[in-house]
Amino acid sequence: MNVSTILIILLIGAFATYFSGDKLASKVALLFSLAALGCSIVLLNNYNAGENISVINSWINQPKISFALNGDGLGLAMVLLTAALTPIIIFSSFGNEYKNAKGFYALILFMAFAMVGTFLAADGLLYYIFWELALIPIYFIALIWGNGDAEERRKAVVKFFIYTLAGSLFMLTAFIYLYQKAGSFLIEDLYKVNLSACEQFWIFLAFFLAYAIKIPIIPFHTWQANVYQKAPTVGTMLLSGIMLKMGLYSVLRWQLPIAPLAAKEYMTIFIALGIAGVIYGSIVALRQKDLKKLLAYSSLAHVGLIAAGSYTLTLDGLRGSVMQMIAHGFVVVGLFFAAEVIFRRYETREIGEMGGIRTQSPKFTSMFLILVLASVALPSTFNFVGEFTVLYSLSQINIWFAILGGTTIILGAYYMLRMFQHVMLGETNSKTFADVTLNEGVSFAVIIAVLLFFGFYPKPITDLITPSLETILQVINKN
């Protein structure tokens, strides 16, 4: 058994969901996403037992492109994140009715397929193909099933698509250029290429454009808040929980090792951009009246810190950012789900129109509170582990980076708690708020359990990712 099994399960799942009809679609999709999760856990076991789970087959002879999937610790960690979040996301949508549900759920599975492929690909072109493929389903999910005014939604989604495509096409040009130098798209060969500082700079920049738009890093973030708000919550979860991790993961896997000289030379600029995102996102989040937009900007702040951690080029920075990617993936999915739960009852996303939920639904309040606290990195949550490792690595580069980056926690605590206060506490709303249903409760419970478990015991994840991160650092520091 090798890593391609997960891809096959998800792809077959997408087709099976489409052909199972509108009524069954959600259940079939859940079944296949759980199968993929099971498969990835088995693969993890095999990997820990030292088995070889990678695949390499030649695909196109000229230019030489291989179907190469590489299962190492870092890739597997991201695959597990995707495989764990997909069933949660699908399950969380069970309270909603979608028109043409078969198309909707098939697209979710197809997107999971493309994202898993991105995390596993060990051939530049194969990676690029998966990277682009992930864009198509989210485009349709946001366009067809999104909310709000149709015309505005159209604009937001098209802007998103053209932005991301523009960035990735420059990455493609960089890959083709690298291919001329290396004679192969395989990642090992690309790591070995010797490039001059000037070439590295342009290649680094081409990659940066693709990733900065996807992550997003300031000043390429303008698509984000609108798309998060307009997309259906499932789409927002997929985008913020998994898809932007594709950008962060690619920084570690492709950008830094291929252009290490440029990464070292311009390190401070890129860290500064990441931290600018932290501060900017936090300040803008303070002023948001729409719950989903507030969460979007808070997400912008958190990923800015993750990006800054990756660009430090230290083991702690890389490790912290990977852990924070996983933690952020879970917590942001939980928070958007909470927004959806409120929307199901109040039919609004305006913070001003909510309030007084606590008296009516204590269970929901306590779960929401845990998520809010996890999001502001309260000790004993997984986010704390990730965020503090990143801040520690930043302090090693320059203490000011750590101090400025640390504002994410202070400002984050401020706007998140203020949001919590307005939404959950305060005067009792005239509308009734039913407490969480069993389905909703299960989704919350799983997310919270993961966050707390790894908060107390992050060792399995650090053990999994450290060897591959060390290899990447070796490549970066080879010359």
Partner: protein, 463 residues
Amino acid sequence: MNTLIAITGLGIFCLLFEILNLRKAIIPITILGLIGVLALNYCEFGTEQSYYNNMIAVSKFSTAFSSLFIVLTIFLVALSHNFYQNHPTKISDFVAIKVFLLAGAVAMVSFGNLAMFFLGIEILSIALYVLAASDRLNIKSNEAGMKYFLMGSFASGIILFGICLIYGAMGSFDISEIHESALSAELPIWFPIGMILMVVGMLFKVAAVPFHFWAPDVYEGSPALTTALMSTLAKVVAIATLFKLIASMNFISSLENQDLLHTFEVIVVIISIASMSVGNIMALRQVNVKRMLAFSGISHAGFMLMTLLTVSASAGVLLYYTAAYALAGIAAFSVILYVCRDQDNEDITNFHGLGKTNPLLAAVLTASLLSMAGIPIFSGFFAKLFLFNQTIQAGYIGLVIVAVINSIISVGYYFKLIIAMYSKEPNQERTGRPFLIYATAVVSIVLNIALGLFPSLVLDLLK
């Protein structure tokens, strides 16, 4: 050679069917006949032979492209059934003209003599003029036919003038003789001038900027099926012939001997950039889908012209690109034919809500547009990838960056159509599921995706 004879015979048969009153059988029999021709052509693949004093020279290049043309003609003939339903008495004429057009196309890529080349181009063009004006009660169709005829005959004249100059310089019409003497040190200046005139004439047929002005009007005015033919088959034929003209007469080495190569390359780069940029920017503003695809075709011509910079190595890339482009075009046009069959125009509003009323065809159109925009896993992406790879290898990284920017612009108008299909409310009832249109749409898009999954199948043909 057998292919050419068989195609001509098939065309004559089509005309006979009318006399024998076998109108109903005409489409299935023509399709079967074309499949037979395809098999015949396949058998010829790999043989290098010339016929009739080197008038026709069969090579890998000619057979591979002929196969593509035959496949495209099969699709176009299949679409004819529903398109000409209201003109039952003329169907044999229209089908026969398409088959004869195919004969011209095959002659154009397998010529061994410039006289044969000119015959081929005239057979193809005259068939196209007739088809453009074939909706004879429609003033727009008449205008299109007239316009195309005037402009096209002008271009033919230029080509003929070029051929004469080459004859004056070389003393022969024969490709292989020209090929040899093109390398001699002392060449009259008429040779490059004649070649340039021929290239200009062919650029006109390709509709590359600045010779593109006829294309949007003619595309819009012609009956939709003719537009489909012009934007897929005719364009592919023209670009393949242009490629063969330059490759087969040692033009590049001859220019190099005379220190003119750099000028030629600059011209190709400029025309290529101009075609893709003008085509794309104009396409952004169109509301008529046929017109939009006309401009998109101009921009694709710009991409295909990039292969002229690496003539010695890029025959396979050109074959792949043309196949990917034409298959996507056929799929797109079969949906357009279906949607606009009872409409008097092809405005984008006709496509509103197609995703709800007709999910299969909407998916096909989406896939073909994504392929043209160059999104993986469709073959359009690999076409662009191989093309960019080839061009960067030759050192034109600036040109590739312009091409990349153009790919991004093109997403703007392709997505306009996708958005119209999926996020607008349907405004008309669509009944009936014509089998042949559905089959053509699905088969061509499946072929397109298959090319994307296994690019080596086509790419390595011309090695």
